[in-house]
């Protein structure tokens, strides 16, 4: 698969640790919501490092957006989050992955379960669903440690208020006064409350850190959901 040059059009901090990087990629052939790209950086002496990042923009959007979380003592993510500026060039290739993807033909109802920056590929799916103005019902369950770590917060609020998307937040570490949402780690009961019953056969996409994905996917299976309709994407502590 061919490496391409991408130009940074914009960098937009989302939270204290995450930044969305908008890219222009000449010759880009499009992608499906949920796919990722490989990014390659090269130092002056020729040393190179590569990492994979989910695409956070919908196929319907202009350009390509990557939302990157800075990993403590990471090698690539601190550069992308702290150093990269509009006008810089990056090498990337993709799109990669054909299983953790959603398009209208896959139907629904669509259950999106995100932990932390695992929201990125699910946001691409959500935006794709909204851009197509289809009728597939969507529920999003999003777990973050605290409110100011909720990525795309304004966008998700608008989707809930204006577009009929069912958005449920759970804050696992810190809650603002008067918080009305969930306030614990995702468990079986929480999934049971938010998800459609198994008889509705929702198509579930779960993305986040490994323990989060294990817990959410296990809960779905134990509630009676078909494992064949649960798609997962996991990133470990080294997903830098």
């Amino acid at each position: 698969m061919k490496w391409r040059f991408a130009t940074v059009a914009d960098v937009h901090p989302e939270t204290g640790r995450t930044t969305s990087i908008a890219l222009r990629v000449p010759g880009w052939g499009g992608h499906l919501a949920g796919q990722h790209v490989d990014v390659r950086l090269t130092a002056e002496d020729g040393y190179q490092a590569q990492r994979s990042y989910s695409i956070a923009s919908a196929p319907d959007d202009d350009g390509l957006v990557l939302t990157v979380e800075e990993i403590d003592d990471g090698e690539v993510s601190p550069y992308l989050v702290e150093e990269l500026q509009p006008g810089d060039e990056l090498e990337l290739r993709g799109p990669i992955g054909g299983y953790f993807v959603w398009e209208e033909s896959k139907g629904g109802p669509l259950l999106l379960v995100a932990g932390g920056s695992g929201i990125a590929p699910l946001r691409a799916m959500l935006r794709h669903r909204l851009a197509r103005n289809g009728d597939v019902p969507v529920r999003l369950l999003y777990s973050a440690r605290k409110l100011d770590e909720v990525i795309y917060r304004d966008e998700l609020t608008r989707a809930a208020e204006n577009d009929g998307i069912d958005v449920h937040l759970t804050l696992t570490r810190e809650r603002p006064d008067g918080w009305q949402g969930y306030a614990r780690r995702i468990d079986r009961d929480l999934i049971a409350e938010v998800a459609w019953p198994p008889a509705e056969r929702p198509l579930a996409y779960v993305c986040g850190p490994t323990p989060f994905v294990e817990a959410a996917a296990d809960a779905l299976v134990s509630l009676g959901h078909d494992p064949g309709r649960i798609r997962t994407e996991r990133f470990g502590p080294t997903g830098s």
């Binding site: 698969m1 040059f5 490989d38 390659r40 950086l41 090269t42 130092a43 002056e44 020729g46 040393y47 190179q48 490092a49 590569q50 990492r51 994979s52 090698e75 550069y79 150093e83 810089d88 060039e89 990056l90 090498e91 290739r93 990669i96 992955g97 054909g98 299983y99 953790f100 490994t210 294990e214 996917a217 296990d218 779905l220 299976v221 494992p227 064949g228 649960i230 798609r231 997962t232 996991r234 990133f235 470990g236 502590p237 080294t238 997903g239």
Partner: protein, 199 residues
């Protein structure tokens, strides 16, 4: 080559002869799977050798445990860029499972709980290069990492080392497996950086 302005990188201290191009070394053991972790009770587990064989072979968990065990220490390389050095595994060599089997097969398709499959040339799982591993670091293999048993083919990218493996289908054709059908490379040699179709 395009220089990334202001990127210095963190040079790996590992021996470059052990870390394939585009990989970095980690001490963690990241998990990557396409779906939920299957959990099959050991009394319902079996391992099969089927397809182009005179007679299908099948081992229960107890029978499998009674086979000669190999303990190996190998480096593993995941297509998502991490490599992990000196990992210790216990399991049964695929040579042992194929001992005495007369076959015209050229390839195998590994099949797994959860529906995952991956394809490999028969030559890549014989000659002391592949195992069905059920122990990691002296402990039973964790379900997240493919327990009770996974294929271990360390000379190829790690998606070829199928988790939750339940058998090998010997074939006279090369049937693409799960990731191989989604744009990943058919063979997956990390030293030639065969990550995706066309690499």
């Amino acid at each position: 080559m395009h220089i990334s302005r202001g990127f210095h990188g963190r040079r790996a201290e590992a021996d470059p002869a052990r870390v394939p191009p585009g990989q970095y070394v980690t001490d963690d053991f990241p998990v990557l799977s396409a779906g939920p972790t299957p959990r099959v009770p050991l009394d319902q587990w079996s391992f099969s050798m089927r397809g182009e064989v005179d007679e299908e072979r099948r081992w229960s968990w107890e029978e499998f445990q009674a086979l000669p065990r190999d303990d190996v220490t190998v480096d593993i390389h995941c297509v998502t860029k991490w490599s992990k050095l000196d990992t210790s595994w216990g399991g049964v060599s695929v040579d042992t499972l194929l001992d005495g089997v007369d076959t015209e097969a050229t390839h195998v398709l590994a099949f797994c709980d959860g529906g995952y499959t991956t394809n490999l040339p028969l030559a890549d799982v014989t000659g002391g290069r592949a195992w069905v591993a059920f122990a990691y670091d002296g402990q039973p293999l964790d379900p997240e990492h493919g327990g009770p048993a996974r294929l271990l083919v360390p000379h190829l990218y790690f998606w070829k080392s199928a988790k939750w493996v339940r058998g090998l289908e010997l074939r006279s054709d090369d049937e693409p497996g799960f990731w191989e059908s989604y744009g990943y490379h058919n063979y997956g040699d990390p030293w030639r950086e065969q990550r995706y179709a066309g690499d």
